[in-house]
Every structure is written in structure tokens, then in C-alpha cells.
């Protein structure tokens, strides 16, 4: 029976009774992202009393130790958080040891009893990816993965999903042996950002944008994911990844999917993800020659960033002195479908660039004829629409306006929508949104298996050609916008990179 009292009300979303099991509970991701997200959910009263957190890790710690860690991770989070943390439990053990999961099983039974979590579990794997398969299999072996009808067991994992198509497929096979696809929640935290979700609103809730969102009006698209940081202490990991795997295969592909996909019939898990997959399938798979002409791999040398001198990548801790790992990628992609045929998509990402910024910029075709004196429109750029994902989340439209005065001079001005200035509501952090979605069981903003597979199909030929040495590593100075070769990539078509 539906609740008659709820009629006409938009009830705030709340997590159902559930135990959140965090593997890697003593790690950086847990302290920096997961615990603050939980604290925020608790502050917003989106967690019920029937909620528990069970931490699992190798670190030698007991329940009290984990509670202390949680309290310290989010100081001054308020009484709700303090009360919640009192119920946190901890299981110390090796993920490869069956005893760890026996004890976990026992603790989960206890919290079901004491907290009323009703046998529902969300397993968050905040571990190194090598442990994904090990943990998933162990959960299955101990009867924690496939639960009785009426209960749910969900697995949350975060990129990287493999390091190539083969390892991604192998990871999928291992996880699918324990969990159904519907119970696997692959996180790309970009999808939890309000501005990425706002692309859907921008496109599909407005009559003025979607009609020009196609090859008839768009000259080209630029996607920039720039970081000012270097690899820091993650040099060892980064040597096995590189920018193409670390950023392009996941974040960039997801942003492209949301930005360029066809309108879904409904904004739900199937509608959105089906359309994203269709878009990813339309991205042209490059052959070897195209990789040579349409991709740039770069690596940073020493330079200056944010007023500080910084060392080059090869001097970073854990990095080989002759490393060829890409810290910068620029590519020209093509989307072979009715909407985007012939529109070049330029993507770039890199470390040690001048600033941290992520944006999608659409540059529109110029008008067919300018009825003004050319000398008076020299400063007029093509119209642009820029979706800024971080920081300063918002949307900027660039258009021409008459300069006040007796001459009919036209120049580009910008109209800016800043998220922070437009709403009273505070934007939830991406992890806050995604954690709640996983608990509620809404996979719309999570990546489906076929999306991962298709993203790898786009990236794999580039990786292969690079590893074969077909594209040399171009050097760039830290603090610059990348190697000169990247400029040539876009300038070949008479265009230039934006300075975001």
C-alpha cells in the first residue's frame, strides 16, 4: 500500500537499513573521502538508525581505534556523526585469509541484530585494484555476496578497472562470478559532481541548447582535464598507469558520454547508460596511422607551478630515470554518428599544468556573414559554451556584443552561471551523492560493464601504438599547457586550445 501521508510531498532520500563494509578502512580514500561523505549524509539526516559501518583492513586496530580514526577524519562534524561513529566496527585481517571473512560474517550478523541493518550490505572496496577479485571471491565463498531474496549485497569499486581490455575483462569475469552486474557499482567520481549531472539538465531541460548541440552548429569540442599537481609519492603506481589509463579511459570517456549522447527517454539507470554506451561505440577506433597523427603523449620536465619550482617526472620518487610514462595526453577523436560526424573532439589531460581545471568547451560555427566592417569585428571569437566541472563549477556562454560607442564594434563577452552563486542549497560532494545512491540502489551514475569495455576499445589501440614506440614522448615544461606537438595537433585545423 502506498503511504497516503507522503502524497504530494517530495520526501528526502534516505538510505535503507544497511551495513556499509569498507575494505581498506585504514587507507587514504576512506579518511579523505568516504568518512567525510558519511558525516555529511548523517548531518543531512539521510542515514537512518538502522545503519552501520564495518571497517576491514590489515592495519592492527580494534573497534575503538577505528572509531577514533573516523572521528579524527571529520573533526567538528557534529553530534549526529559522534553518535554514529560509536556504532562503527572493525575487522582486522588479511583479505586472502578465510578467517577474516568468517569474522566479518559474525560481525555483520551482530550489527544486523544490534543496529537493525536487516541483512543488507554494501561492500566498498577502497583497496588497491589487485584486491578487487580476491575480496569479491571471498565474499561469495562466505555467503556474503548473493543474499536471500529481500536482502541486497552490493559491491562498489573504483577505477582503474583493469589496465587494458584483457585485464578489464578478466576483472569483470572474477567479479561477475560473485556478484550480478546489477549489484556492481563502478564509481567514477566525476559522475557524482553536480556540474556533470547538470549537463543533462542543460541539454534536456532547455529548448535553447539542444537544437544547436550537433554538427550543424558545433565547430569542435575541447575537453580539458588539467592538474597542477605532479605524481607526488604515487610515482610507483603512476609508472604502471599513465595519463591515458588514469584519466582518459574513465573520466574523459564518461564526460564525453554524458555530453555527446543522444537524449534518453528517461533519466534513469538504463536510459542514461544505454545512451552513453551507444555514444562510446560511435567513437572512431583509431588505426596505427591515426594514432600517430591524432595523439600526443607528453611527459613533464622541471618548471614552475603556482610559484614553486618543481622537479621533472623522471626525477620523482619511484619513477624510472628513463621512464616513457605519459603524464600528458592530447588526442583528436571523431564520433561517427548522425549528430557528430565531422566534428573534431579534442581532449587533453596532464599533470603539472598551470592550474587545476576540468571543463568541456563547445566552439560553435561562425556566422555565415558578418554585416559589420571587418576591422570592427576583429576581436570577435566564435560563440562558445563552456561547462566547468571543477573548480568554479558553472556554465559560461561566450557571444558577441556591441561595444558602447558610436562605432559598430563587436567583441566577445561572456555570460556566466556560477553554481555557487545561483543556489542556496549546498552542493553535495561527489562521494556523498554516490555513496547514498549505492545504498539506495540507484546505479544511474555508476559505470556499467559494457561502458568499461567500450572505453577500453577506444583507448587500447593508442596504448598499443605508444607501447610499440610509434609516437615519441614529447617533453613539456612543468607549468606550461603541454608540449608544442599538442598545439600543432589542434592548429592543423586552424583552431587553438582554450586557455581555461
Amino acid at each position: 500500500m502506498t503511504n497516503p501521508l507522503a502524497a504530494g510531498m517530495e520526501l528526502s532520500r534516505k538510505a535503507p537499513p544497511v551495513a556499509l563494509v569498507v575494505f581498506g578502512a585504514s587507507g587514504d580514500l576512506t579518511s579523505r573521502k568516504l568518512l567525510p561523505a558519511l558525516a555529511a549524509l548523517s548531518r543531512r539526516r539521510q542515514l537512518t538508525d538502522a545503519f552501520a559501518v564495518v571497517g576491514v583492513a590489515r592495519s592492527d586496530m580494534d573497534d575503538q581505534g577505528f572509531r577514533k580514526l573516523a572521528a579524527e577524519a571529520v573533526p567538528d562534524a557534529g553530534p549526529e556523526w559522534e553518535e554514529l561513529v560509536k556504532g562503527f566496527r572493525y575487522v582486522q585481517g588479511d583479505y586472502g585469509h578465510p578467517d577474516t571473512f568468517d569474522r566479518l560474517h559474525a560481525v555483520l550478523d551482530e550489527v544486523d541484530e544490534s543496529r537493525g541493518t536487516s541483512g543488507n550490505r554494501v561492500f566498498y572496496l577502497a583497496t588497491v585494484p589487485e584486491q578487487f577479485g580476491v575480496v569479491a571471491a571471498a565474499l561469495d565463498e562466505h555467503g556474503l555476496a548473493r543474499l536471500a531474496p529481500g536482502h541486497f549485497g552490493r559491491l562498489v569499486i573504483e577505477k582503474p578497472f583493469g589496465r587494458d581490455p584483457e585485464s578489464a575483462a578478466a576483472l569483470d569475469a572474477t567479479i561477475h562470478a560473485a556478484f550480478d552486474e546489477d549489484s556492481i557499482y563502478r564509481i567514477d567520481h566525476y559522475l557524482g559532481k553536480e556540474t556533470v549531472q547538470n549537463v543533462l539538465a542543460l541539454r534536456f531541460a532547455n529548448a535553447i541548447f539542444e537544437p544547436v548541440w550537433n554538427r550543424q552548429y558545433v565547430d569542435h569540442i575541447q575537453v580539458t582535464v588539467a592538474e597542477s599537481l605532479g605524481v607526488g609519492h604515487r610515482g610507483g603506481f603512476y609508472e604502471t598507469a599513465g595519463a591515458l589509463r588514469d584519466i582518459v579511459q574513465n573520466h574523459v570517456m564518461q564526460v564525453l558520454g554524458i555530453t555527446l549522447m543522444e537524449p534518453p527517454a528517461t533519466v534513469d539507470a538504463h536510459g542514461i547508460r544505454d545512451e552513453k554506451v551507444k555514444l562510446l561505440k560511435a567513437i572512431e577506433i583509431m588505426d596505427e596511422d591515426q594514432v600517430v597523427t591524432s595523439s600526443v603523449r607528453g611527459q613533464y620536465d622541471a618548471g614552475w607551478v603556482e610559484g614553486e619550482p618543481v622537479i621533472g617526472y623522471r626525477q620523482e620518487e619511484g619513477v624510472a630515470p628513463d621512464s616513457t610514462t605519459d603524464t600528458y595526453v592530447a588526442m583528436r577523436l571523431a564520433v561517427d554518428n548522425w549528430r557528430w560526424a565531422g566534428v573534431p573532439i579534442f581532449i587533453r589531460t596532464g599533470k603539472r599544468l598551470p592550474k587545476r581545471v576540468t571543463e568541456v568547451a563547445m566552439s560553435f560555427e561562425k556566422v555565415p556573414h558578418l554585416p559589420f566592417a571587418s576591422a570592427l569585428t576583429r576581436d570577435l571569437d566564435a560563440n562558445s559554451l563552456v561547462v566547468r566541472i571543477q573548480p568554479d563549477e558553472g556554465v559560461t556562454v561566450g557571444f558577441g556584443a556591441k561595444v558602447p560607442g558610436s562605432e559598430f564594434r563587436v567583441r566577445t563577452v561572456s555570460m556566466d552561471f556560477a553554481y555557487g552563486a545561483a543556489f542556496i542549497e549546498e552542493s553535495p560532494d561527489a562521494y556523498e551523492r554516490l555513496l547514498l545512491d549505492a545504498m539506495v540502489g540507484d546505479p544511474t551514475l555508476f559505470i556499467r560493464s559494457d561502458e568499461v569495455e567500450q572505453s577500453w576499445k577506444v583507448v587500447a589501440p593508442v596504448l598499443s601504438a605508444w607501447e610499440a614506440g610509434d609516437v615519441p614522448v614529447s617533453r613539456y615544461e612543468a607549468g606550461s599547457w603541454g608540449p608544442r606537438q599538442a598545439d600543432r595537433l589542434i592548429e592543423a585545423g586552424g583552431r587553438r586550445w582554450r586557455r581555461p
Binding site: 597542477s228 618548471g303 614552475w304 607551478v305 603556482e306 610559484g307 614553486e308 619550482p309 598551470p354 592550474k355 587545476r356 581545471v357 571543463e359 576583429r378 576581436d379 562558445s384 563552456v386 566547468r388 568554479d392 559560461t396 561566450g398 561595444v403 560607442g405 567583441r411 563577452v413 561572456s414 556566466d416 556560477a418 555557487g420 552563486a421 607549468g479 586557455r499 581555461p500
Partner: protein, 347 residues
């Protein structure tokens, strides 16, 4: 350190500020974010241009800020002032002063901020690494070389700029010939706005208008010479422009130093006279001269026979001249032609 004043509806009120003597980039960014979060509650950020001021020294920076802060409600969304720090043994430290200003324009609340960074040591040669992350996105970048035109210690700043602003008058007080050479180099890089050129505009307008009817325009074919009295650079630019427009040979120009800009055009039996009054820096052209920050009405008057043309303007204060420069961020072919001749004019 934070000192927050209540937001006020008056023009250009300091709403919030933060000062640190030894700080890092991250702290500056965090404080700016904090100030912005406070400001955005129902207010709009001014969003026309990023104005980057490269000052010569502390005193120069203060004068530069004083002269431009009032521009906020009409122009910059952010003003970044970079001050080189020399001597004292603490060159490697970065000092910062952030100021948030608010005002009301009709029924809207508007705000803008001023970021003043004092830097020294090696980073001074890489100031662009501090400036670029602080620029407001999708806005042009005007770089005012308030410290001089001869050498920019951070060449990367020139790459960031969409427009350069200089005070040719200030630079030329040392060497007009060297100034012409420096400015010619800058013109090749980016659209250049010379405050001295902006200052002479009323004079050029008055002179042009006095020759406006066809019969008087024909008189320009008989120009014998031009005598210009005034500050060294303004007078050269005026003369260079006149020569380029009329075809008068540079050796027909006679320049005299003076505090106010005046000119006499010899037309055989006739002559046209121009009295443009003081142009910045009002004739006091030593490098120590403080830039006037106030503004007042002014008028340029040209006479030819019984014809008298006057062009009124808002004075020659730096603020007004900067407004003029920022309003015209494009290449000015007339200026470039005048500049080429100005360097060749003798006395």
C-alpha cells in the same frame, strides 16, 4: 589575518580583506575562495577583464592600486598586482594582500577583488606561474606594465596577456628613443594601449574636427610645419600622428618640453592652434612623480581662424586613461603608425 567589514551599498566599499607577510599560493587561493563564498550571497562578480599590474616597486604598486580600484565597478573582475620584492633578506617570501570590494549598480550588488602579491627571488622570473591560476576564466587579460617597458622579468606574463597597457610618458621621461624601440617591440607581440596615446585623444579629436569641413581639410595639403609643446612622449605621439596623417616630413616638426600639451600647425598664411591642457602625468615627468589618482573635467580646444572646436573629457587622471585603454583592447593602427614616427622625431 582577516578583517571583515560589513558589506555596504556605497561605491567601492572594502568588504573584506586578508593580509599575510609570508604565505603560500594555496593559502591565497583558499582565502580568495572564502571571500568569494561570502560575496556571492546575492551578489554578482564584475566580469569584464582580468587586470594584471606589473609594478616596479612597492610605492609604485600602491599608487597603481589606488588609481585602479575604482575601476572595479566598470571593468575588472579581478585586479592582480605583482610587486617585485628586493633587498631586506626576505626576497624569497611571498607577501599577499587580498581585498574584496562591493558596490551597488542600480539594483544589483557587484563585487570585485584585488590580489596584491609581493614576490622576490627566483619566482620573480616566473610570475606567470602565480598569475595564471588566479585569472578568472573566459575573460581577457590586460597586462599593465606599470613598472616600465624596457624589460619584463617574467616573459611568460606577456604570453598570458591579450592586451598590454603601458605608460609611454613615464618610460619616455628617461629616454624617448629607447621607449619608442621598446614599444615597437611590444606592439609586435600583442595589442598595445599606451596611456599617453589615450591622453592625447581629446587633442587629436579637437585638431581633426577643426579641419572637418572639406575646404578646411584641403588646407592640410599646405602644411608647412608643426610645433608641439608638452610632455615628451605625448607631444611626440601627437606629432607622429599628425605627420603620418598629413604627410608632413618629420623634420618639419619642432618639439618643446612643457607641462601642458599645445600645438601650432603652420599653414602658410594661416595657422591652427591647439590647447589640450595637462596630459598625464601633467608635465611633471620625473620617474618619482606620483601618478595622480583623482580625476577632473578637462577640455581640448583647437582654433583655426574664426573656428573654435572644443572637446571635453574627464581629465587626465590615470584611472580615466586606464578606462580608455581597457575599453579599446584591440590593435590601433593609428597608434602604431604614430609610434613609428615618434621615435624618429628630434628636437
Amino acid at each position: 589575518m582577516t578583517d571583515t567589514a560589513a558589506a555596504s551599498g556605497t561605491d567601492g566599499t572594502l568588504v573584506d580583506s586578508w593580509t599575510a607577510q609570508d604565505t603560500r599560493f594555496d593559502a591565497v587561493v583558499n582565502e580568495l575562495a572564502r571571500m568569494r563564498a561570502n560575496a556571492e550571497n546575492g551578489s554578482t562578480r564584475a566580469a569584464v577583464v582580468n587586470l594584471v599590474v606589473l609594478a616596479a616597486a612597492d610605492a609604485g604598486a600602491n599608487r597603481a592600486i589606488e588609481s585602479i580600484v575604482g575601476l572595479g565597478q566598470h571593468h575588472p573582475g579581478r585586479i592582480l598586482v605583482i610587486v617585485p620584492r628586493t633587498g631586506g633578506g626576505d626576497e624569497d617570501r611571498m607577501a599577499a594582500r587580498l581585498e574584496l570590494y562591493g558596490t551597488r549598480v542600480e539594483d544589483r550588488s557587484l563585487w570585485w577583488d584585488v590580489v596584491r602579491l609581493e614576490i622576490g627571488g627566483p619566482v620573480a622570473a616566473h610570475a606567470e606561474s602565480l598569475v595564471e591560476p588566479l585569472l578568472l576564466h573566459d575573460l581577457p587579460v590586460a597586462l599593465w606594465l606599470a613598472g616600465g617597458t624596457s624589460r619584463v622579468e617574467s616573459p611568460g606574463l606577456l604570453d598570458l596577456a591579450s592586451q598590454l597597457i603601458v605608460s609611454g610618458e613615464r618610460a619616455a621621461s628617461i629616454s624617448p628613443a629607447a621607449t619608442a624601440e621598446d614599444l615597437a617591440g611590444l606592439v609586435r607581440l600583442k595589442p598595445l594601449s599606451d596611456l599617453a596615446w589615450v591622453a592625447t585623444e581629446p587633442a587629436r579629436q579637437a585638431l581633426a574636427r577643426v579641419f572637418d569641413p572639406p575646404e578646411r581639410a584641403a588646407m592640410l595639403e599646405g602644411v608647412d610645419g608643426l610645433r608641439v609643446e608638452g610632455p615628451p612622449w605625448s607631444s611626440r605621439l601627437l606629432a607622429g600622428w599628425f605627420c603620418e596623417r598629413t604627410g608632413l616630413a618629420p623634420d618639419g616638426v619642432h618639439l618643446t618640453l612643457g607641462e601642458e600639451l599645445r600645438a601650432v600647425v603652420d599653414l602658410g598664411a594661416d595657422r591652427a592652434e591647439l590647447d589640450a591642457g595637462p596630459v598625464w602625468p601633467a608635465g611633471r615627468v620625473t620617474t618619482d612623480t606620483p601618478e595622480p589618482s583623482g580625476s577632473g573635467p578637462g577640455v581640448a580646444i583647437a582654433r583655426l581662424g574664426a573656428t573654435r572646436v572644443s572637446v571635453s573629457h574627464g581629465g587626465s587622471a590615470t584611472r580615466r586613461l586606464l578606462t580608455g585603454a581597457l575599453s579599446h583592447p584591440w590593435r590601433d593602427r593609428r597608434y602604431e603608425a604614430a609610434l613609428e614616427l615618434a621615435g624618429r622625431l628630434g628636437r
